[in-house]
Amino acid sequence: MSARPLALSSRIPARVAHAGLLWPSLGVILAFMVAPIAIMLTYSFLVPGAYGGVEWTFSTAAYEQILFERDFLDDSLTFTPDYLIIVARSLLQATVATLLCLVISVPTAYYIATRPDRVKNIWLFLITIPYWVNLLIRTIALLFVLRDDGPINSALIDVGVIGQPLALSYNGFAISLGLIYSFLPFMVLPLYSAFERFDFRLLEAAYDLYASRRVAFFRIVLPVMRPGLIAGSLLVFIPSVGSYLAPDILGGGKTLMIGNLIGTQFQAARNWPFGAALSMILLTITLIVLFWLARRAAQQQMN
């Protein structure tokens, strides 16, 4: 049975009302989001201007630059893996962060979902606060404890375990930790709501059929939760790949991930076409992962 459309007035034709309601949002997003990305796509095929900006000459140099270095003198191309390594490192960092977030979040979300209601709300509240707290502040907090003269190193030196501070910050480890720290709540909360809907009679059935706890968890609980796991992974992986703050603050300013590399092209380096090309690559990676996982989730749901 179809509901009566929510019209605001019987005097305005439904089609006009529909457009009037929808188009402010659509228009804003198309004009200030979709159009800019189209411009970026165009710019990625141009050459950089002398003082930033672009010159209107078609070129695939920006994309070539990711793999090759052009010699100033004889214009020959030499393979240089530097940028490729940054792209690969971004993917690796994001994958590691996603997997570790899964390992931490699955038991946590499960545990919270099986608590009695009162306790559950306290746990949820505890997870929700970091979710809402400013990401910059949280990243700064992590840097604060990881620094060479931060509380961890100071304490260890005071106790005499180490003589020199451990290199906890300004490296790949700090970035990994930063990504996990940043996006862990993004994983726990959707997993929790998935576990909330889990039918625990399935677990009883598994035990009834002689499953051990281990088997019950890995063969029954996790497979049933797969759409939730996929959703949570997306929420961690996508912001991780393009992350800017964690590598910028915890990586010590070295361009270690693609997000920073892109940022640099529009700030200090002033190579807009190269930045645009990198952006297009990052966007493509994101959309591919998104649609691939979304399709798998949809297939799972159909089965």
């Binding site: 049975m1 009566r4 019987s10 005097r11």
Partner: protein, 390 residues
């Protein structure tokens, strides 16, 4: 806009004055027509490959003050018809009149009609009292009148104690009563009820049937009731319209519909029927001789012209089959016996035909009982065979 031009005030008028108050004598509309649809068609997604004809050329008149039921299986178009009367769906062609006024183009808020929705559609953020007052407030009634009408309605449906509760704290039966009170409060000329009992359990449903019926009598408002439950339809209605596949099959009193079905669909849908194929083997003075293959000849009255050799269907209610033995006419074999408490049902095979017979208190108090495997004779009570041409 149409409202302003054609119907300066299409709202319930003071002179209609159907005061829904217990004990008062409501003003009746003798012999007038409450709702009338002519050549009504409704096609969903017209002009697309998904076009679906929900109603096909329906003509129907509903008299004032009657309890009228639209009965049919789900998807037959009965709810669509109700929604067209309520103004929730636009008809594709034809006309729809309410007390003589053409309302085909009017939105719901301009029709003197109220609806009791299937899931009640009570406003969850308002108390019972505010729910009931809503229609009156929208009509711009003075506050004092709103308050007194709400009190009367609360009393009418025995919900005074719950006046300041919210709907989601109440049981299905209570919500049902609030929905009724809300729809009756603006004193509509026509009350539409869309399967209002389907969400209730059996006992409550039976109780609400009686309440609805007495409410209709007390208020004198014309009720148009949609249901797929034939027992409900027979128990409550003054008249019933049976709808199938977008077609109006038959309109009549519950007795008419049950005793004189005019099509195989009606015979089968209302109660249970044995439907047997037969050939006309001669007509004499309104009575036909009918040949049932593998059984023999039977006689039954025919209302319409039939010709020799014409194929027809015979409808016989299970309780009007008489089983016997020892008369030398045994031709039916009992294949199964089902004990139903107040009756016993026998499944029989007669030649190619499978029949069902139901015997009240079967096997008890002198009635003969049979067991699977018994071979019995089958007789028909006089007048029990209906000849159906379609």
């Amino acid at each position: 806009m149409q409202r302003a031009i054609k119907h300066p005030d299409p709202r319930p008028r003071a002179e209609s004055n159907i005061v829904p108050m217990a004990g008062s004598d409501p003003v009746r509309h003798p012999n007038s027509v409450a709702a009338e649809v002519r050549n009504l068609r409704k096609t969903y997604n017209a002009g697309t490959p998904h076009a679906h004809e929900a109603l096909k050329d329906v003509d129907l008149s509903i008299r004032a003050n009657e309890f009228f039921t639209l009965l049919g299986p789900s998807g037959c178009g009965k709810t669509t018809l109700l929604r067209i009367l309520g103004g929730f769906e636009m008809l594709t062609s034809g006309t729809c009149r309410i007390f003589g006024e053409d309302v085909s183009r009017l939105p719901p808020e301009a029709r003197p009609v109220n609806t009791v929705f299937q899931q009640y559609a009570l406003f969850p953020h308002m108390t019972v009292r505010r729910n009931i007052a809503f229609g009156l407030e929208m009509l711009g009634k003075p506050r004092a009148e709103v308050e007194s009408t709400v009190e009367r309605m609360l009393d009418l449906v025995h919900m005074t104690d719950y006046a300041d509760r919210r709907p989601d704290t109440m049981s299905g039966g209570q919500r049902q009563r609030v929905a009724l009170a809300r729809a009756l409060a603006p004193q509509p000329k026509l009350l539409l009820l869309d399967e209002p009992l389907s969400a209730l359990d059996l006992k409550l449903r039976q109780k609400m049937r009686l309440e609805l019926k007495s409410l209709q009598r007390e208020t004198g408002i014309t009720f148009i009731f949609v249901t797929h439950d034939q027992e409900e339809a027979l128990a409550m209605s003054d008249r019933v319209a049976v709808i199938s596949n977008g077609h109006l099959q038959q309109v009549g009193t519950p007795e008419d519909i049950y005793e004189q079905p005019q099509s195989r669909f009606v015979a089968d849908f209302i109660g249970e029927s044995n439907l047997i194929e037969a050939k006309v083997a001669g007509v004499t003075g309104g009575e036909a001789s009918l040949d049932i293959e593998g059984f023999g000849k039977v006689h039954a009255p025919v209302a319409e012209r039939v010709e020799d050799g014409q194929k027809v269907w015979l409808s016989i209610r299970p309780e009007r089959l008489v089983l016997g033995s020892g008369d030398g006419q045994e031709r039916a074999k009992v294949t199964d016996r089902t004990y139903l408490g107040n009756a016993v049902e026998y499944h029989l095979h007669v030649g190619e035909h499978a029949l069902t017979a139901r015997s009240p208190r079967g096997g008890l108090r002198g009635r003969q009982d049979f067991a699977p495997g018994d071979v019995v004779s089958v007789g028909f009570e006089p007048g029990s065979i209906k000849v159906l041409l379609s």
